[in-house]
Amino acid sequence: MKTVEDLRKLREEVRQMTKLREGEAEVRVVVGMGTCGIAAGARETLGALVQEIAERGLLSVVVTQTGCLGLCEREPIVEVNAPDGRTLYARVTPERARRILREHVQGGVAIEDWVIRN
């Protein structure tokens, strides 16, 4: 540690260590983990999301779980809460989860085919 710039660089690198505790998330990704969700493979979906976030270094994303949404037949359901609104995705396999992160969370474009509509 020789200069102030060294300190600030290090801080940027380690910011993620405590960020989660400060509640500054831009995007919240919520996975349905009711019995129906788990039976449909939500655990694997959640695992894929966490892995993809790590690989892409998406620091502003928070992943949480929720219970049954009532649409058990379309589980695993993943909700993306971004600044532009709330989107619900149906039948999210691990592969679909990765694509949602890449295209919707990172790219900003929802994947309309999988979105749950009224």
């Binding site: 540690m1 020789k2 200069t3 102030v4 300190l7 600030r8 290090l10 801080r11 380690v14 910011r15 993620q16 260590m17 405590t18 960020k19 989660l20 505790r21 509640g23 998330a25 996975v31 983990m33 788990i38 655990r43 959640l46 695992g47 999301l49 966490v50 976030i53 790590a54 270094g57 998406l58 928070v62 992943v63 949480t64 779980q65 929720t66 219970g67």
Partner: protein, 597 residues
């Protein structure tokens, strides 16, 4: 990079360690590994979160769910239900003692959301053994800014402008102290951190050292730059082994990163810190006794002036501040003196950490803006008095302070108002007493402490406190005499005026303030040989109520001295002379026929 979707904080302050948090954490880590969650969930050991009577405590982020009294089995359940499936375990949530409502998250707990955490900003949030977590929360930024953009004069001026005052007890303006030491001419100066926290019931300094040791290291280094010192000492008591361990680890890490040592941030400024472990004498919290102890001499105070700022450690100018005072420095540098000056009252700026103990629902550490009323602290933040009892008094300032009564519940907690109310801020111990507390016994307890801790160097403190204690002892045994209160007043005045240091000068305070507010209780002890609160065992007498006694004989059977006589189905009676007041009959009687008065 690693991404953890959830951070699980396990409080590992000394309070939670003694309630078994390390086993709880081990179970949690083990269960996470079994469930394959260990790469997604990070378990972090933190310093004191503040809710010491609820330990072991766990907080799960990002949701911020707060679990209390978590056993090892509970921890495994948290892993299986909450961490894996996202289901909050209602059974382990905190229940608001006043509304009986379950509180879902940390942020909704009044205990936390009424606090303003400046000195405790990182305590209970970061892992104190990982310097990077401190850096991630702007750690060492204040030092960087001071060394590269400010002059020592500017640092002193900023601290002065903030209005920060010493948190160790006396409330002396910190900036003034820094200015005196800065202006003292010498080839060598020192910075000393007073971590010899000795007031019964106060533990904020320990919690800061255990939970955020880098905050103290950084502030001391800034102080070294401001006053022109190159060496610092932390004087910490040996009874705080966890604080010593974490501070030592933090010092090593800071040296590795170059925050301590030669040419910090490539400037000409060099500074290092050593730990000195005290042997646990209360008087060593007094600054001149503390300095003597660091020098390897007996921990005895000497008359001031000269003050340490002029002639301190080894005769050199020395800046000596308390742990909590130092903990306020970095935020003042980062956010400015104006920001700090907007918190608190006209003459007492910033926040104060209180260690709340006694008859109160939420015991623990709370940091609130100066000037919050006693009522707000007791009822709003700490959840009021348990078991539906009445508030009777609160002792502030520990054995050097005084008590506040029900009539003073709306007194603002700041330096001046507390002194005007006959008490003092002291280091921030706050002991709450309910209707069952005896004020003679309380005064005796505090005086017993100061008498025991008197170093013996000056006569008024050594002998005077002893005489006062003897009088109070007699009172609690039913041997009080007319004239005792006058004798206490006389002794108190002499001790106050002629003792060498703060220990003696303030030792009579609890006695005086308790006599002032609860005179009738003292009179009852002396004249009627009666303890109205029912605490002083020697003044108790036991009786059996004839209209309630069914003559079952249980009392006679449990009496260890065979002091109870009677025949089955008839009213039993107690022979006063034989009774040793052990309370066994009262506890045993199924009909409530045994009474104590």
């Amino acid at each position: 990079m690693n991404f953890y979707r959830s951070h699980v904080l396990v409080c590992a302050g000394a309070g939670c360690v003694s309630s078994g948090c390390l086993n709880t954490m081990e179970a949690l880590v083990d269960e996470n590994a079994k469930l394959g969650l260990d790469r997604e969930i990070k378990v972090i050991e933190t310093g004191c979160i503040g809710t010491c009577d609820l330990g072991p405590v766990i907080v799960v982020y990002p949701e911020g769910v707060f679990y209390r009294n978590v056993t090892t089995d509970d921890a495994r359940e948290i892993a299986r239900e909450h961490l894996l499936k996202g289901r909050t375990i209602q059974r382990l949530l905190y229940r608001n003692p006043l509304t009986s409502q379950l509180v879902q998250t940390y942020g909704e707990m009044e205990f936390f959301n009424r606090q303003l955490r400046i000195a405790l900003r990182n305590t209970g949030v970061i892992n104190p053994e990982v310097i990077e977590e401190y850096i991630a929360r702007d750690g060492y930024e204040a030092l960087a800014r001071v060394l590269t953009t400010m002059s020592p004069e500017e640092v002193v001026a900023t601290v002065t402008a903030s209005g920060l005052r010493g948190r160790g007890g006396a409330g002396f303006p910190t900036g003034k102290k820094w200015g005196f030491t800065f202006r003292a001419m010498s080839d060598q100066k020192y910075v000393v951190c007073n971590a010899d926290e000795g007031d019964p019931g106060a533990f904020m300094d320990r919690s800061i050292l255990e939970g955020d040791p880098h905050a103290i290291i950084e502030a001391m280094t800034i102080a070294g730059f401001a006053v022109g010192a190159n060496q610092g000492y932390v004087y910490v008591r040996a009874e705080y082994p966890l604080a010593v361990k974490r501070l030592q680890l933090a010092l090593d890490q800071a040296r590795n990163y170059g925050f301590l040592g030669k040419n910090i941030f490539s400037t000409n400024f060099s500074f290092d810190i050593l730990i000195r472990v005290g042997a646990g004498a209360f008087v060593c919290g007094e600054e001149t006794a503390l300095l003597a102890s660091i020098e390897g001499k007996r921990g005895e105070p000497r008359p001031r002036p000269p003050y340490p700022a002029v002639k301190g450690l080894w005769g050199k100018p020395t800046l000596i501040n308390n742990v909590e005072t130092f903990a306020n420095i970095c935020p003042i540098i980062l956010y400015g003196a104006d920001w700090y000056g907007r918190i608190g009252t006209e003459t007492s700026k910033g926040t104060k950490v209180f260690a709340v103990a006694g008859n109160i629902n939420n015991t623990g550490l709370v940091e609130v803006p100066m000037g919050m009323t006693l009522r707000q602290v007791v009822y709003d933040v700490c959840g009021g008095i348990p078991n539906g009892k009445e508030f009777k008094a609160a002792q502030t300032g520990g054995p050097s302070g005084g008590c506040l009564t029900k009539a003073e519940l709306d007194v603002a907690m700041d330096y001046e108002t507390l002194i005007a109310a006959g008490s003092m801020m002291g280091s921030g111990g706050l002991i709450v007493m309910d209707e069952d507390a005896c004020m003679v016994d309380m005064a005796r307890f505090f005086l017993d402490f100061t008498q025991d801790e008197s170093c013996g160097k000056c006569t008024p403190c050594r002998i005077g406190t002893k005489r006062m204690l003897e009088i109070l002892d007699r009172m609690t045994k039913g041997e009080g005499r007319e004239g005792d209160m006058e004798a206490l007043y006389g002794l108190a005045e002499n001790i106050r005026e002629t003792s060498l240091c703060g220990l003696g000068q303030s030792a009579p305070n609890p006695v005086l303030s308790m006599i002032k507010h609860f005179r009738s209780e003292y009179e009852a002890h002396i004249r009627e040989k009666r303890c109205p609160a029912g605490v002083c065992q020697a003044l108790m007498s036991y009786n059996i109520l004839a209209n309630k006694c069914r003559g079952c004989g249980l009392c006679a059977r449990v009496c260890p001295t065979a002091a109870i006589f009677g025949k089955p189905k008839e009213v039993y009676r107690i022979e006063r002379k034989k009774c040793v007041k052990c309370n066994a009959c009262l506890e045993k009687c199924p009909f409530g026929a045994v009474v104590r008065a």
